[in-house]
């Protein structure tokens, strides 16, 4: 579904990503893990088109998209739930969701978003309760749900999520991940960027480990979970220390 070849990207003179190659197949959950500043968000920015300064090749459903603007990429069916939620805080929950459906409206002028709204409300019952509330007044977890729902309103073929667990209470994180799993069950494809490597690898099919802008490891999620280097650097286990301890 998504295939990236030799992607370089960065801000201004600063190059953050170097020669990234990866792919996501339909129906998969793929996760990208790595430390702060490794370039995970940059990678999603480059795929979604928010970051213009990129070279290499990005194919979405066999079509080249690395020169397209974010709105065109969304229109093709590749949506991003950005880091830090970024809901339209001065607008109501419903307005947020309706804006998410704009892409569908563009595909088909007569498209009626209300069916999708209902679907979202059944997926996130909390949002129905808060339909008329301003998005900025929601709690962090609710905002994250709104951001995911808003992206889903576009009926994307691939949904990318940037650190959905960031700053959320464990209970909420569990809810969010339950939803991601549910999305996959419904046949969605998910590209997940997470710092919480353990949780991410727990629900993903495959994973990539990114370090200082390069992919240093890739493989099945389970293999990565048991990989010693990964454990040491990203799972917070200093094996040497543990060895010493025991």
């Amino acid at each position: 579904m998504l295939r990236i070849k030799n992607l370089d990207a960065g801000y201004g003179k600063l190059k953050v990503l170097r020669r990234i190659s990866m792919h996501v197949s339909a129906g998969e959950i793929v996760t990208i893990i790595g430390a702060n500043g490794a370039g995970k968000t940059t990678l999603l920015g480059a795929i979604s088109g928010l970051l213009r300064n990129r070279t290499g090749e990005i194919l979405f459903e066999k079509k080249v998209i690395q020169h397209l603007s974010p709105e065109k990429i969304v229109f093709m069916g590749c949506s991003l739930v950005p880091e830090g939620r970024q809901v339209f805080s001065t607008m109501s929950v419903k307005e947020n969701l309706l804006l998410g459906a704009y892409v569908q409206h563009r595909r088909d002028r007569r498209h009626d978003a209300h069916q999708d709204l209902d679907r979202m409300y059944s997926l996130f019952p909390r949002l129905r309760e808060r339909e008329q509330q301003l998005a900025g007044t929601l709690s962090g977890g609710e905002q994250q749900m709104l951001a995911i729902a808003r992206a889903l309103m576009a009926k994307p073929k691939l949904i990318m999520m940037d650190e959905p667990s960031m700053g959320l209470a464990p209970l909420i994180v569990r809810d969010i991940f339950a939803i991601i799993r549910k999305l996959r069950e419904e046949g969605n494809t998910v590209l997940l960027v997470e710092q919480n490597a353990k949780v991410a690898l727990g629900i993903a099919d495959r994973g990539y480990v990114i370090e200082t802008g390069r992919i240093i490891l890739q493989g099945q999620a389970d293999d990565l979970l048991s990989n010693r280097d990964v454990q040491r650097a990203y799972l917070g286990r200093d094996l040497d220390a543990e060895v010493k301890l025991s």
């Binding site: 003179k13 490794a38 007044t137 949780v199 917070g236 200093d238």
Partner: protein, 254 residues
């Protein structure tokens, strides 16, 4: 002896309680680490200590001075300097010029002296320059002195930023995620440098995500979660603390 003591610190942004009743001390000459999940309030706490933000309530003692509410430059003059999570080097300046800015608090040429280029300022300038060179040597990057700061590699920029903070000759050095974006090898180098800094007798307070770094070099670790302190102990104890494991390492999840 505590060089830094924080007592009942609170900071609220709108509806979010970013720092809640946090108290801790940092022993002179030690390395203390501050960890916690994203959004736990680590950077806010750092900003409160370094004067970027002023607390809603609570006290911060630096040595025997009460410093909360002071401006960052005043706190820097008192002998506390810091680095930034997102590198904040001065663009359009060379590496050595960046470090020379660090000598600001230790020199005094003002506007009038500068305009008239008074002879004593020449001597001061050359002192600043030679001291900055020493710092570059100490960090092992003397070869980069005249490179434009923004053209340096990421890891080198981190080191220059460390050097800039060292040039203040701080009693307390605050490092905000010094290993962010570094690879394993660079992280190890950074760990070495930080230990070297400690050996100079400088106290270090560090915010870091990289556990290998934190656990290897720090003498004590504080864990924050939702703006509250949930643990404050030596690294080995922290690693075994179930509360910490639950909120931070995510052991119980999934």
């Amino acid at each position: 002896m505590a060089i830094l003591a924080v007592r009942d610190l609170n900071k609220r942004f709108g509806g979010l309680q970013a720092v809640k009743d946090v108290s801790f001390t940092v022993t002179a000459g030690s390395i203390k680490a501050l960890i916690g999940p994203n959004g736990a309030g680590k950077t806010t706490l750092f900003n409160l200590i370094s004067g970027v933000l002023s607390p809603d309530s609570g006290d911060i003692f630096f040595g025997d001075m009460q410093i909360e509410g002071m401006k960052p430059f005043q706190i820097a003059e008192k002998g506390m300097s810091r680095t930034f999570q997102h590198i904040r080097l001065f663009p359009n300046m060379t590496a050595i010029e960046n470090i020379m800015i660090g000598r600001h608090t230790h020199s005094r040429a003002g506007f009038i002296a500068g305009m008239f280029s008074l002879p004593w300022t020449w001597k001061e300038e050359s002192r600043i320059r030679s001291r900055s060179r020493e710092i570059l040597d100490f960090l092992g990057i003397s070869g980069l002195a005249d490179s434009e700061s923004t053209s340096l590699a990421y890891g080198q920029q981190r080191i220059v930023e460390l050097g800039r903070a060292l040039a203040c000759e701080p009693k307390l050095l605050l490092l905000d995620e010094p290993a962010a974006g570094l690879n394993i090898k660079e992280t190890a180098e950074m760990a070495n440098l930080i230990t070297k800094v400690k050996n100079l007798g400088i106290t270090v307070l560090i915010v870091e995500h990289d556990m290998s770094l934190v656990m290897n070099i720090s003498d004590e670790v504080i864990v924050l979660s939702y703006g509250q302190k949930i643990a404050d102990d030596v690294p080995l104890a922290i690693q075994k603390n179930t509360e910490v494991i639950r909120v931070y390492l995510g052991e119980e999840e999934c």
